[in-house]
Symmetry: C2
Amino acid sequence: MRIALDAMGGDHAPGPIVAGAVQAAQRDPALTVLLVGDEPRIAAELERHPDLPRDRLPIVHASEVIGMHEKPVEALRKKRDNSISRCWLLLAQGEAHAVVSAGNTGAMVGAGLFNAKMFLPGVRRPGIAAVYPTLLGPAVLIDVGANMHPKPEDLYQYGVMGAIYAQHVLGIDNPTIGLLNVGAEEDKGNELVRDATRMFRSSQFADRFVGNVEGRDIHDGRARVIVCEGFTGNILLKSGEGAVEFLFSELKKELGLLLPRLSPEDGQLLVQRLRDLKTRYEYHEFGGAPLLGIRGACIICHGSSDDRAIRNAIRVAAVMAEDRISAEISTALTSGTVAHKL
Amino acid sequence: MRIALDAMGGDHAPGPIVAGAVQAAQRDPALTVLLVGDEPRIAAELERHPDLPRDRLPIVHASEVIGMHEKPVEALRKKRDNSISRCWLLLAQGEAHAVVSAGNTGAMVGAGLFNAKMFLPGVRRPGIAAVYPTLLGPAVLIDVGANMHPKPEDLYQYGVMGAIYAQHVLGIDNPTIGLLNVGAEEDKGNELVRDATRMFRSSQFADRFVGNVEGRDIHDGRARVIVCEGFTGNILLKSGEGAVEFLFSELKKELGLLLPRLSPEDGQLLVQRLRDLKTRYEYHEFGGAPLLGIRGACIICHGSSDDRAIRNAIRVAAVMAEDRISAEISTALTSGTVAHKL
């Protein structure tokens, strides 16, 4: 299994990125990680890891880097020899089975969507899935930002792809699928959602489709795959992160006054429990967000990813590229049970 | 000041609704609350409050009630003599200066939007504002569900109305205005947001406009008014409530184990602090969500509103109907600094 890793992508690249690759290669002897980016800088990072399996960590030079805040389309056009495009090229050429980056998300998605030959058969447009917690365990939110103007068919495909991902990667049997909407009733919301509802109802996934899910119910776990347009999904995902961040900062203030009154052991216990709870919300635990609908696999990591997050992302990318996920997605989307129902 | 209150609207109406009205009338001797709904049931509730100012709590009979989960449009058409429509009629006839309801939100908004004569001069389409907490204090999110298909001009108007509301009701001087978007850069998102950005930049509010706000930054307070389309705003608002609900239920589990190890005083302190924190998120504290752009005032309360929430909502409705909010909104929206710039 060969993974193309954008060694230059991320807030603190290449340090933690290379470290994550080293750890992944050490843990899985069947894994080769292609370190894509500035050769001297990557080589210097590798020097810090003396016991590494060097032959399974080849460097693929790319002279340019797209910054985290650069405009994606412009950057991809101007910086032809950038590490992200090089990763995708390796995937297209069959040199890699999957791509992983913690760099500029827009550039990563843009480069992937640019070449429709990289889409799985039957896929109209890939979508980004994110994992979030519910009372019944992890669930999938899709799309969280790849597609700003989806058609009903796109939403339907996101549901199918999200369900297959939830089954294979999160281990959820026959995951339920819901549509994010402003109310539970079927006449709510906009036409996009209403048309997508009809598609789900007349599809092979009808028995798994639980209808509309309101914002306040996304954490109850009734739907283990929640489908939405990229604009709303992106805002929802990020606002969730923001709310947790904010809430814990307030919590810290509230509990800070209590802490001195506790025994050192109890105080430590309290801090540890809060930290555990917060960790459950941080999605680097889940190894990044996959761009679903791509041949092989593509994992997009948070810019702040540390070595552990990168290690996890590489592992998930390897599982996804190896597993039947791609084949199942194509089968489900080309079997034609739905395609012409609208 | 006369407020038309939908006495039949809310999960537990008319009990807590009438109780809230009694409290509001007791506290403000200049206030008359018209109790709209089933006369015998409301009269029975009033019996429970012997010391009330009866002359300032007249009952206006309406024979029908729109249920919390009825389809708004259908219900408004079929149940002509419902309490919500009656409230709006009282406003239109000048019998009331403001309307308040904890009933079916869709019906409340639908009945209000039905009669464009009730819009303030210059207003294209009213929008619902919600108050939420930030690190710098309360902020306004608008629209959270009145307008599923806004035009750029609508978003601009929401910004203006939200800012005037934030100034008068929340006491924020010259509140900043931002647009909810998937990225901070101006080329991000969809056309709607980009066009609205141009309108703000060329308007009299240009110096207050802080550009795009991402989901993760809504709690930092950089924008004290955040503008978005109704679909996204509704999902964002409700998912925020859902996330807080979920987080506190998890927190309770985590801290439940710690509680027996604390002294009774410390335990009580911990519980109290968490309760305080949660309360800050519950928007009945803020007295409901106003439908901005309406002549007089309209406050939409949460279905679960208790007597205190209703009392607050009546107070806010009275402030809004009395204050210069309406005049300021009309002046800002008819002064024409923007209207034709797009």
